[in-house]
């Protein structure tokens, strides 16, 4: 199972890639394995705003469904529309083509609340 060093993580098994004020968010390799075959992702509308830990969408596997939580507060500036037809990209490339949303962060300090790779690794007991 892959945990990338350059990312932030949440306890809800999301990863965050920071580039300036923009945070790209997806779910971790561990999460996609636990969920199994992903069949649907409900994406938020571009322009909508979320506060940290607010649910922004839903991810569905064959027999489970999980809420997606905004790891940081901010405005949605982009969503991965490819997932609408190819939700399986989250299974095959969780950290790459399987990204879900990009958020323009309103408070970069929230990043300090997130886990680093080592912290996430110990969370999932790997």
């Amino acid at each position: 199972m892959e945990i990338r060093e350059n990312l932030h993580y949440t306890k809800e098994h999301e990863w965050i890639l920071v580039d300036g004020d923009i945070a790209t968010v997806g779910i971790t390799d561990y999460a996609q394995q636990e969920l199994g075959d992903i069949v649907f992702v409900e994406l938020p509308e571009v322009g909508s705003e979320f506060t940290s830990m607010e649910s922004f969408g839903v991810i569905e596997a064959v027999k489970t469904v999980a809420d997606l939580f905004a790891p940081v507060s901010g405005k949605i500036v982009d969503v991965n529309n490819v997932l609408i037809d190819r939700p399986d990209l989250i299974n095959s490339d969780a950290y790459g083509e399987g990204w879900i949303i990009k958020i323009e962060m309103s408070n970069n300090e929230e990043l300090n609340q997130l886990l680093d790779a080592a912290g996430y690794k110990s969370l999932i007991g790997d």
Binding site: G36, D37, V39, F40, E60, V62, K63, P87, D88
Partner: protein
């Protein structure tokens, strides 16, 4: 063999029915129904002759497992054999062809049967009054939850939470939400039962109802239920019992005596109405006297020697079904109760409990049993011990199909990992239970020595394991030409 869709064997101008010729002077349809209201193209229903239709459905039917064919140990589903006489009585002309809008005087038999069934259920449940109206267990739950809502509204109390243990059926929290309450989940204790300390901690003046199943979904009797009822009542809340597991209790103990205020019972489980491939069921609810005013309308009342509908209960939650509920299921349950009588009903529960414990005993050395105790009518085993061979409970379930058995309920209750919930019912013979146990043990050995057999099972069923991810991603839910 693949059976084509009925649409795929259709061909022009075939039909499978006959109707008498129209015996009134036909008018131009456009005179009767303005053209704008008429469909422009025909509904593309199949066109087949009667023999083709019958063969199609008969061939399809042969792809089903069913209780008349073999063991069906689905936990919490009570798949018992359904006496054939039930089908005969339900099909009597005097039941089958009665219209729900007929005047009361023409339906005295139907009303009498319903009233007596209500009384029998009151006696079995130990409750004061019963309404037969809900069409299934979950509709019974919703009715019960709405009754609680109306009760507290009348008391002028704002209570928003319904407390549910983590072992509950999924319908419980769903009914609670639809009924406008918040479902609050509490943890079961180490014995898999209600934790009286948790209940003391969480039941407060915001709690409307404690909703529990007894015996619970692990097949265990909640022995502290009476004390729990007292706590809940002392805090002004109500006790609801999900009666899905009533098959364990008849003639032995009664929910009403345990302190339950509202309960539903599944006539299609305990009272032997067949399940029809998913329904119809019937989910009557029973309540204590102080909740009677809130029951669905209409209610049947006895007026001298005749029976009447009564709609005038101003605090009723209203109607929950178009008419009076799933009437033909009432006929089946009534038939069953009259054939069994008090003694027979008790024998049912005793034998269901013996069968479950016997099977538990036979399997306990081979599968992990998370809660070790005598069980009631069902028990939960776990496939955890097979994980080291790369085998999951799903594989065990699929392999069982190759042995001609239906699988138990799997991955439920949620508090047991790799759960296998097994309910044999009283209608299985000892030798049938022995064969099932043998198959389970054989499968466990295969898991250890030859796990590939399990992964590639089932092999002998009409079709192999199906790709559920594909079904979910490429949603195809209807035929398109």
């Amino acid at each position: 063999m693949e059976e084509k869709l009925i649409f795929e064997i259709s061909s022009d101008s075939k039909k499978g029915y006959t109707l008498p010729a129209l015996d009134v002077q036909a008018k131009d349809i456009n005179e009767l129904i303005p053209e704008e209201f008429q469909r422009k193209s025909d509904a593309e229903l199949p066109q087949v002759s009667e023999p083709e239709a019958v063969r199609h459905f008969v061939n399809l039917s042969r792809k089903n497992h069913h209780i008349d064919k073999g063991f069906y140990p689905l936990g919490s589903c009570t798949m018992k054999y359904n006496p054939k006489v039930n089908e005969e009585t339900a099909k009597l002309d005097g039941f089958r062809n009665v219209h729900p809008f007929e005047d009361e005087r023409f339906v005295q038999g139907a009303l009498k049967l319903m009233k007596e069934l209500e009384e029998y259920l009151c006696e079995i449940l130990g409750t004061d009054v019963v309404s037969l109206q809900p069409a299934a267990g979950s509709q019974g739950e919703l009715s019960g939850i709405l009754i609680a809502k109306r009760y507290f509204e009348k008391l002028g109390e704002e209570r928003t939470a319904v407390i549910i243990p983590d072992s509950a059926h999924g319908t419980n929290p769903a009914s609670v939400s639809i009924g406008g309450f918040k479902a609050f989940q509490i943890k079961s204790n180490e014995q898999g039962k209600l934790d009286i300390e948790e209940i003391k901690k969480y039941v407060d003046k915001n709690t409307a109802v404690l909703m529990v199943t007894n015996p619970n979904t692990l097949g265990l009797f909640e022995e502290q239920i009476f004390e729990i009822s007292e706590i809940v009542h002392s805090r002004g809340a109500l006790m609801y019992m999900d009666g899905a597991n009533l098959n364990a209790l008849m003639g032995i103990t009664r929910p009403g005596d345990m302190g339950f205020d509202i309960m539903h019972v599944n006539l299609h489980k305990t009272f032997s109405a067949p399940h029809g491939g998913g329904g119809p069921g019937s989910g009557p609810i029973g309540v204590v006297e102080r909740l009677e005013p809130f029951l669905p309308v209409p209610r049947i009342i006895k007026d001298g020697s005749s029976f009447k509908w009564n709609y005038s209960y101003k605090n009723s939650i209203g109607k929950i079904h178009s008419f009076f509920g799933n009437f033909s299921i009432f006929v089946k349950a009534y038939t069953y109760i009259r054939i069994l009588g008090a003694k027979g009903l008790k024998e049912v529960s005793e034998n269901a409990i013996i069968n479950a414990n016997y099977l538990l005993k036979k399997l306990e050395k081979h599968f992990s049993i998370p809660y070790k105790d005598y069980c009631m009518h069902e028990f939960v085993a776990s496939g955890e011990n097979l994980k080291e061979y790369g085998i999951r409970t799903l594989d065990v379930a699929k392999r069982l199909l190759d042995f001609g058995f239906h699988s138990p309920t799997i991955y439920f209750p949620l508090i047991v990992k790799e759960a296998l919930m097994i309910e044999p019912t009283e209608t299985e013979s000892r030798s049938s239970l022995d064969s099932f146990a043998e198959a389970m043990i054989k499968i466990k050995e295969e898991a250890e020595k030859n796990p590939e057999v399990l992964h590639s099972s089932p092999q002998t069923t009409p079709i192999g394991r199906l790709d559920e991810a594909k079904a979910g991603r490429e949603l195809d839910v209807k035929y398109d030409k």
